[in-house]
Amino acid sequence: MRIAIVLLLLVSLLVPSSARAADRVVAATLDNGLRVLLLEDPRSPIVSFQVWYRVGSRNEHRGSTGIAHFLEHLMFKGTPSHGPKQFARLVEENGGQDNAFTSQDVTSYYVDIAADKLDLLIDLEADRMQNLLLDPKEITSEREVVIEERRTRTEDDPGGFLGEEVSSIAFKAHPYGAPIIGWMDDIKRVTPDEIRAFYKTYYVPNNAIVVAVGAFRAADALEKIKKRFGRIPRGKATPPMLAVEPAQNGERRVVVKKQAELPIVYMAWHVPNHRSDDAAALEVLSTILAGGRASRLYRDLVYQRQLALEAGGDNSYFSIDPNLFWFWATPMPGQTPEKLETELSAHMERLKTEPVTDEELARAKNQLEAAFVYQDDSIHQRASLLARFELIGGFALKDSFLAKIRAVTAADLTRVARTWFVPERKSVGVLVPKS
């Protein structure tokens, strides 16, 4: 299971489609600032139509955390011309699958549907970009749904609960320290007026990206998008997010006692994001440590010594602001979290002193490259990846991503490990099962 998840993660976060794909992307910025990316892919008679807003929990403030995610729920609650529930009904009646997600940096809505329904989607998405009802009665009811979601994901999930605690000690100034779903009291308190103001501020064409991949003619689709979305007036420039996380002066630590069957250990280091020259090396390092069953953490901790039921790591390449490099392990019954923490640290120390082997380096690069190719098989993933690169500076960046990965050397990995994986950047969380 761990392997599948790690590979899935690689596919979903790291890997753009083939290097030449960007050449065929039709890109435009409308007069109102809306960014449009279109890619023809005629293999199946379907289209993935996605709208990405450059807003997430990163744009929230103390006391009203979770508002971006709450608004995401409310985006399905209707406009004057498409009443409550009509969005989902229309999509389902037309054989489409819709969903949405909120992250620290973005809020994304997507529909995968038969390609001849593209006009419908353009109309629905343009409508709710501008005309959301935000009926207080719907907000009252949906608030309870979000609270239930928080109970499922956090209150009743040991891993979810611990992750929230570690983030909150790792960041004391930057909003990345608050949970995406929001603190429980904030979800209960936030008002319809605040939600409306948040919507008006961030759901504007100049803060959004429309991406479509599928069986359509890009020129036609662009005309339709211009015609429908072009009517929406440009909004004010969104307020800048000014918080900067100060340097950390020493290791931070949190211990959670909760009903659980096995302990959990998280370690998180402040690392740079895609803007850094070290970003590609961190990606490779993450793959060497945690990419598959031949990776170091699996082979040593799970397989050879059977200290962990699972162990892994993950870098935050696409993060808008510098974020965390996560490590985690679930000790096998009879093993302690202290032991696993020591072992995870030992792996990090080894990377600082001992170069990785040629085979490990080549394997990690091959895995990252292959994941690019696999990505191309799904129109949904192709669209998502274009958006992810667009968010960090331009969809064409995906063409240079692989070249950066290929250029990483063993010496880079040693240097990067020494630079970033130091105690002054580290936060540790331990979940101790309550007896």
């Binding site: 299971m1 529930k85 989902a88 054989g95 009743d156 992750g163 995406i180 394997r363």
Partner: protein, 450 residues
């Protein structure tokens, strides 16, 4: 992964629990169909030793997905050896006549591919994905795993303790706990009532000899289906498969059979106490398999009741009452039986109210015909979303082996569309009267109890 950085909304009502994922997979295998009037979904041929080979050409992306399905699932576990098939599947890739497990991992991961084995109720499936250029290596590894596994003693011991730990950990997931208990109630007396992974106690009893014997008896060419999908031609696929699997000898004795599941005499209720803020509610009963003509009305009925975000349960429990984030129903058809289930998670104080709502909605399905618009929406969704179920080589390969295993035929895609299209409100009511009386459902509650 545990360090979740995105909140993906469960608009389709599928929470992230293991159970919900399993449901999604089951549902996907149900609703997949071939495009109307299109060429056959795949080339099919039966080798002399009985292996069914299915090939679908998808030349655009240079990758190949392979599935080797063998009828050696948990349903064949001896009564006192629950978890044997699952252990066998787990150790299958851990050593072959040519390679150790770590050598196999290194070989496939060096080219960015994957070889995995997974065990379900009916089957063990070996899955491989690789770039076209690495196909020969990938197929070599798959054939070694299927034909010459060595099941090393140390690897069996490793997997035994790993599976036991995973079972222990899963006890903290209320959805898994509920599904396990419900399976026991719904399939009382049938092997489907035992968890695929077994119990910590049953797994402790398993030995390497058990594994070797189980695989020798169950894995055979005439119960094996191979799908090859991607950047490959039919001729090429046939040649590559023949070269590796053509000489696998078919045993003289017939394959083992399994009795079909029959409904237990009485529905039962069970409560599992857990220190949680929510209560997990799961109703279930036996249902009908895909070869039963009533399967199609039941699939539509389930969709109307709790299949999507326009469904009755989603509307009433989530949207109108704010009582749950996840509430949904699903049909899970297997080879020898099927189940129909309804699940919700709600704050503990409101659990009785949600239980009552689900009972009311189940009863209403039989009491009155569904509205025209509800019926149309469900049918249009089930028919119209088909192409989305088959939009990658991996999904096509999964679909092909499932359709073949269940004996549905490669035209199932077209037939499904036609049959769903013909379902009437009267059909749904008839099936609901028969299958949805609330009293016929077993019920599991996981959470704080008084």
């Amino acid at each position: 992964m545990r360090t979740r950085v995105e909140l993906r909304a469960a608009r389709r009502g599928r929470a992230r629990s293991a159970l919900a994922l399993a449901c999604a997979v089951a549902l996907a295998s149900v609703v997949a169909r071939g495009p109307a009037g299109a060429a056959p979904l795949a080339h099919r041929e039966v080798l002399a030793n009985g292996i069914v080979v299915l090939v679908a050409e998808r030349p655009a992306v240079p990758i190949v997905a392979v599935r080797v399905l063998t009828r050696a699932g948990a349903v064949y576990d001896p009564a006192d050896r629950a978890g044997l098939a699952n252990l066998t599947g787990a150790v299958l890739t851990r050593g072959t006549a040519k390679r150790t497990g770590p050598e196999l991992d290194s070989a496939i991961e060096f080219v960015g591919g994957s070889v995995e084995a997974g065990t379900g109720r009916d089957t063990i499936t070996v899955s491989m994905t690789a770039q076209k250029k690495d196909l020969a290596l990938g197929l070599d590894l798959v054939s070694e795993v299927v034909l010459t596994p060595t099941f090393p003693e140390a690897e069996v011991a490793r997997k035994v303790s790993e599976i036991q730990a995973a079972i222990k950990r899963s006890e903290e997931d209320p959805g898994t706990v509920a599904a396990r208990a419900l399976g026991r109630l719904v399939f009382d007396g049938h092997p489907y009532g035992r968890p695929v992974e077994g119990t910590r106690e049953s797994v402790a009893r398993l030995t390497r000899d058990d594994v070797v014997k189980f695989y020798r008896e169950r894995a055979r060419p005439d119960t094996t289906i191979i799908a090859v999908v991607g950047a490959i031609t039919v001729d090429e696929a046939r040649r590559e498969i023949m070269a590796r699997f053509g000489s696998w000898a078919r045993p003289a004795d017939p394959p083992a059979t399994v009795a079909a599941a029959t409904s237990p005499a009485t529905a039962r209720e069970e409560t599992v106490k857990r220190e949680l803020t929510q209560t997990t509610i799961m109703f279930g009963r036996q249902a009908i398999v895909q070869t039963d003509p009533d399967y199609f009305p039941m699939a539509v009925a389930s969709y109307v009741l709790g299949g999507g975000s326009a469904s009755r349960l989603y509307t009433r429990v989530r949207e109108e009452s704010g009582l749950a984030y996840a509430v949904f129903s699903w049909v899970a058809p297997w080879r020898h039986g099927a189940s129909f289930a309804v699940s919700a998670q709600t704050r503990t104080a409101e659990a009785p109210k949600v239980v009552a709502m689900i009972r009311e909605e189940l009863a209403r399905m039989g009491r009155e015909p569904v509205a025209d618009r509800e019926l149309a929406l469900a049918k249009q969704y089930l028919i119209g979303s088909f192409p989305l179920r088959l939009d990658t080589s991996g999904k096509v390969a999964d679909f092909l082996v499932a359709v073949e295993d269940r004996g549905l035929g490669l035209d199932y895609a077209d037939r499904y569309k036609e049959r769903i299209g013909k379902v009437t409100a009267a059909d749904i009511q008839r099936v609901a009267v028969k299958y949805f009386p609330p009293g016929a459902f077993s019920l599991v509650i996981v959470g704080e109890t008084k």
